[in-house]
């Protein structure tokens, strides 16, 4: 084992160092949990109980029924009644309500007479996500109401096309289920890359690296000795995150736990190698910090974590293809949400394994056993 000479000594020292460094432990384990909880709740795209302001000029049974139908979707809740269009607009501008519904005085009269009864729905379009959902829900409510009225008039028993949606995976369509596995990928990346990026730089700054270079420690032994303790720490962190996902956010794990663990180990290995690669170049902790941040930021945007990669301009899509986080997020979503099996998810895993070997070899080879 000449190739890994000194590895045992490095592991001995590094495990002690890691355990004696409460600050690093704290920053590795605590922020990820907070980040996960924050991301998990903040990235909830399901809009419920949007404020709705009502300007009911008709004041009839039918107009009240219509408002009730809106409320029954759980998308809207009535936040107040007004008596002019100006007031309605003002409430929306003030941010008290997202939508305003205006029912004209002739609503019931037209309805009963079989004429088209008009309803105005004013929507705050500044947030496109909520606006879209308000629009869709409003359309659905009024359309189905219209269809049922037509059915009653025509005497038909059923509607011409009856679509029955079946939601595969994530049947409740909860957006935390979609986001949280991705959050695990992002959050793991931040603290692990940083930990190893600092590891060699710290030795350089303290002057102990010189002492190690004089010794027969091999570069592979040095690199693996730095990596393994943080790999263990990263796994502990991952376990904690998956536990939070499962029991706090109630996201079920559809696929195999073994596949999940294996993918996480490979992913962590890639991240730690990236950190090591940084530390072989950075001269001080400040440089290491900046390099790490430069690498982490793109992964938040281009890995498909929030925005689907398929709709990105080609350049951003290309950036995403070289990020390990992209493949891990693919993997973890496939395993956790869709219960994918090996024959279905192996391409992403293969890319990660290749990255792990490639990056680790690169940093061992790029590491200079001389000082300059």
């Amino acid at each position: 084992m000449r190739m890994f000479r000194g590895l045992g000594a490095m592991l001995y020292k590094e495990f002690i160092s890691v355990m004696r460094d409460p600050m690093t432990l704290f920053f590795m384990l605590f922020p990820p949990i907070i980040e996960m909880i924050a991301f998990g709740y903040a990235l909830d795209n399901d809009v419920k109980h949007m404020g709705m302001i009502v300007y009911d000029q008709a004041r009839t049974v039918e107009s009240r029924e219509l408002v009730d139908r809106f409320v029954n979707t759980e998308t809207f809740r009535v936040v107040g009644y007004v008596s002019s269009t100006a007031e309605m607009a003002s409430e929306i501008r003030k941010g008290h309500a997202y939508v305003g519904i205006q029912i004209p005085p002739d609503f019931s009269r037209n309805l009963r007479a079989g004429r088209s009864a008009q309803v105005q729905l004013a929507i705050d379009g500044s947030n496109s996500t909520t606006a879209l959902q308000a629009l869709n829900t409003g359309l659905a409510v009024t359309l189905s109401d219209s269809v049922f009225r037509l059915l009653r008039e025509s005497g038909r028993a059923s509607i011409p096309i009856d679509m029955r949606p079946q939601m595969l995976y994530n049947p409740a369509m909860k957006s935390p289920n979609f986001f949280i596995p991705g959050v695990i990928g992002i959050v793991l990346q931040i603290s692990t890359t940083f930990a190893t990026a600092m590891a060699v730089v710290r030795e350089r700054e303290r002057g102990t690296l010189e002492q190690l270079l004089v010794s027969p420690l091999s570069r592979w032994g040095l690199m693996l000795g730095k990596l393994v303790p943080y790999l263990c720490l990263g796994l502990a962190m991952a376990t904690f995150l998956v536990g939070t996902m499962r029991f706090l956010f109630h996201v079920p794990i559809a696929g195999s736990l073994t596949a999940l663990i294996f993918s996480t180990v490979v992913y962590l290995f890639v991240l730690l190698s990236v950190g090591l690669l940084i530390s072989t170049r950075a001269q001080n902790q400040m440089q290491a910090l900046q390099m790490t941040m430069t690498l982490i930021l793109p992964s938040v945007f281009f890995s498909g974590f929030i925005f689907p990669r398929e709709t990105m301009p080609w350049i951003f899509y290309a950036v995403g293809s070289v990020l390990p986080t992209t493949y891990f997020i693919n993997l973890i979503r496939a395993i956790i949400l869709r219960g994918a099996v090996f024959s279905e998810f192996w391409p992403s895993l293969a890319v990660l394994v290749a990255m792990a070997f490639g990056l680790f070899s690169l940093c061992a080879l790029r590491f200079k056993s001389k000082i300059e």
Binding site: K13, R20, T208, P216
Partner: protein, 322 residues
């Protein structure tokens, strides 16, 4: 003739346009204590780093125990020990963990490691501090620990880069006692220092100035060099009160080549034509009456001052004890 442990031929290191070490030649015999002196930035640490195989020489060769430091770096690593200027220890590890780490690093097996550990702990008197974190040790104890760590694998050559910088005098004395003991056991020591009293204890010294090794040899032989003892001159020690006033009185007098203060006395280099009574006369002018004047042989410091002056130096902090 004893076996040569360290041998440098034309060893040179350039950093861009700056030549840090310029064609240095010297050799150190097995069991010697080689004192490597020179002002800060003169290239001492650079030479050590090249000899330890962590810095690539630009030119020239260096061999340790007959092995080339560039070609056979890996083979050499087991036979050299290095104690850097900063006593590079792992602060978060305890004293005994530091020792165990260095033992393991050099591939010592359990039994051998334990034996060597006990030996070094006994030798350095570290027992009371074994469970203490290295960060909490004082300078002297850090230095002992650093040395014990560098010795775990029983190197044949030990390099010490300013091992006594910032250490109290008692710890300094004790460290030298240890060095003599190792030297007696056949270990070769290469020590850089600023202290002249330490240099006097070495079996051999080298003095590097402005990247060039300007002198190298046995201290007693160096003191006999003609550059140090110009023909027709002698060295005198003048002990009196008010040495600073005395120095003013003696400087720039005809026949007095140099005059420097050494604690409570002055060291003079005077021409043989200048009689003792003449010196007493100059001192009487500033009211010094009871001066004690006696001939002395040059110290190593005199040697280095003389040689530095010859090589175009003479200003700055070089050549003097701290």
């Amino acid at each position: 003739m004893a076996e040569k442990m360290i041998e440098c031929v034309g060893l040179t290191k350039r950093f861009g346009n700056f030549t840090a070490v310029d064609h240095v030649n010297f050799s150190v015999e097995r069991g010697a204590i080689f004192g490597f002196l020179g002002p800060n930035g003169s290239g001492k640490s650079t030479v050590i780093r090249m000899l330890c195989g962590i810095l690539q020489p630009t030119e020239g060769t260096a061999r340790i125990g007959g092995r080339d430091v560039v070609e056979e770096t890996d083979e050499l690593k087991d036979s050299i020990g290095y104690m850097s200027q900063k006593f590079s220890l792992y602060d978060e590890l305890t004293v005994d963990e530091n020792l165990i780490f260095y033992g393991k690093l050099y591939g010592l097996r359990r039994g051998a490691l334990r034996k060597r550990y006990d030996e070094l702990v006994a030798l350095t008197h570290l027992e009371p501090y074994l469970k203490r974190r290295a960060a909490l040790l004082s300078g002297g104890w850090r230095q002992r620990l650093a040395m014990a760590c560098a010795l775990m694998h029983e190197p044949r050559v030990l390099f010490l880069d300013e091992p006594t910088a910032g250490i109290d005098p008692v710890a300094r004395r004790e460290l030298w006692d240890l060095l003599f003991e190792f030297s007696g056991r056949g270990m070769t020591l290469f020590v850089t220092t600023h202290y002249m009293d330490e240099a006097e204890r070495c079996t051999n010294v080298g003095y590097i100035y402005l990247s060039k090794l300007i002198v190298c040899g046995v201290p007693d032989e160096l003191k006999l060099m003609p550059e140090v003892n110009p023909p027709g001159t002698r060295r005198l020690d003048v002990t009196c009160e008010h040495v600073t006033a005395g120095l003013q009185a003696l400087r720039h007098r005809k026949g007095i080549e140099t005059a420097t203060i050494f604690g409570q006395s002055m060291h003079l280099l005077v021409e043989n034509t200048v009689a003792e009574t003449e010196i007493r006369g100059y001192l009487a002018e500033v009211g010094i009456r009871d001066a004690d004047i006696r001939p002395i042989s040059p110290s190593l410091e005199d040697v280095f001052v003389a040689l530095t002056a010859k090589h175009g130096g003479g200003t700055g902090e070089e050549g003097g004890a701290k």
